[in-house]
Amino acid sequence: MYAYDELDRTLINERVSEFRDQVTRRLSGELTEDEFKILRLQNGVYLQLHAYMFRVAIPYGTLSSKQLRRFAHVARRYDRGYGHFTTRQNIQFNWIKLAELPDALADLAEVGIHAMQTSGNNMRNVTSDQWAGVAPGEIEDPRIWSELIRQHTTLHPEFSFLPRKFKIAITAAEHDRAAIKIHDIGLRLHKNADGETGFEVLVGGGLGRTPFIAKTIKPFVSGRDILSYIEAILRVYNQYGRRDNIYKARIKILVHELGIEKFAKEVDEEWKAMGDVGLTLDHTAIEEVRSRFSYPAYEKLPHMPDELKQAAHDKLFERWRKNSVSAHKVQGYSIVTLSLKPVGGPPGDASAEQMDAVADLADKYSFGEIRVGHEQNLALPHVAKRDLPALFKALDRLGLATPNVNLVTDIIACPGLDYCSLANARSIPIAQELTRRFANHDTADLIGRLHINISGCINACGHHHVGHIGILGVEKNGEEFYQITIGGRADENAQLGTLIGPAVPYAEVADVIEDIVEAYLALRDRPEELFVDTVKRLGVEPIRERVYATR
């Protein structure tokens, strides 16, 4: 866990008072909506179809049980009893009243939670691997660096009025769970030949209307120079980024138009010209932040405790363990993913009761810590293996033990037309129908790893371009239609999917997806070949032929 210092606490509290005053002035008519809009957006407040939506940051996806309980409280007291975890380590409340927002913000501030920079053209929540600090083989805890960047960029005047929003993600593990290649800047921690820790810096990734996979701009930037190098990138972006056309304003367009070599040259020149601007991180500064992260006092535990051996005959437990429990860097412990994708449920939603219960379970079994991943699931990062059987029973009762992590029903979906004012089409009911079609866990196991991602419009909040199967809602003559892509992926081998055929109407989407999955099962050359690998080997055509032959 990270402990905020006095400065952070003061900043957050001052922000609440400031916002309270702004809301009062808005409600009295002293501020017009035009004047107020930018202020509310700076505090994560959007206006959606039915209500205001309040987006709250969960820096690098780490939460304490106390903070999660506070989310439950906000959901219950100010909303309709649930919250929605997003693809960027945020939580959204969908039914919040403007008049009550300052109170909700104040309640969150008491536990060190805020909504700064969760919207607007600034540096957004710096995200990270939800297994940070516990993943085996990790170079080091990437959250230290997320936090250093967060501190430097929060309310930084130069980064508060960028041409467009700006997103950074960091990973330190071999397998990229933070989707760094679809971020404006992606950082991969690694060691160079001299054993020094630094970053491969990628730039210009992003989805939306014009999707790009990020390109490497520098293979190695040492840790002490990372802030100044990011600053140089942002300066070049601030200088050349298009402010005249919202569709061309993201850094990915600039990188694409200049070409990565030219862009890199500009950044290097800027970096040199900047000289020493006081951004070099010395050992003390890094260690100061590192010391604010606390780690559990792990016990020395056996690799295979008796409790686990005894539970091995329980089929349901074993299925869940194999699916949702992952290796931990400390012997005797596990990382447990809590699926927020129950069959028939809206992906990423959690009720206040579930949040409270997970907070209790975190206290009991995970040193009071919870993680939030971009796949819209939660995780308990430090569970002793001996506790797994008891934890499974508790999670099962809560509807949080669906053994579908990374399987076909672990769908990423944006809120879509049920909530979002920008949407063309609904996302959630499509996801719900698909989870019903593939509700049989044996079938889902047989299919293997398969990510379905759904967005309700081209803004791509559901990351449809990088879904193994991507579904994008479009509108045709007032009707909901869906474009389907296959072969995308968001990990270290990130790639954009390819359109498989003409858009299909709402009622046919689930049938088409079933046909795609059937075609894959028929075409894969062995059971271990994942969907995305079959598409890579064969291309889209053989699947297209089978799916569209009769349509």
Binding site: L27, G29, L47, L49, Y52, K97, A99, S351, E480
Partner: protein, 89 residues
């Protein structure tokens, strides 16, 4: 009709013929020409304190004068989300 979101709580509201806002679609002022629609919108927009982001949206008039939302987006705004929200507790 002209619809917006109420300022203090964001609720969906419709502009009424009495120059106020109502949460009931059936209370909305229905206009049939673009001039009337523009006038209604201008009048609604002037009330910046009451509601946010007014716009003209279509309705369907059923037999017997019943007013229905004219498209899916307005249907969802009028009736609420189309999904079963029950998250298992």
């Amino acid at each position: 009709m002209v619809t917006a979101n109420r300022t203090w709580d964001g609720a969906v509201v419709y502009r009424t013929a009495k120059q106020g806002w109502s949460t009931e679609l059936s209370d909305s002022a229905i206009v049939t020409t673009s001039d009337e629609a523009r006038a209604l919108l201008a009048e609604a927009t002037a009330d910046d304190v009451g509601a946010v982001g007014p716009y003209i949206a279509p309705v369907e008039l059923k037999d017997g004068g019943k007013v229905k939302p004219g498209n899916l987006r307005e249907h969802i705004r009028a009736k609420g989300v189309t999904i079963d929200l029950q998250v298992p507790a």
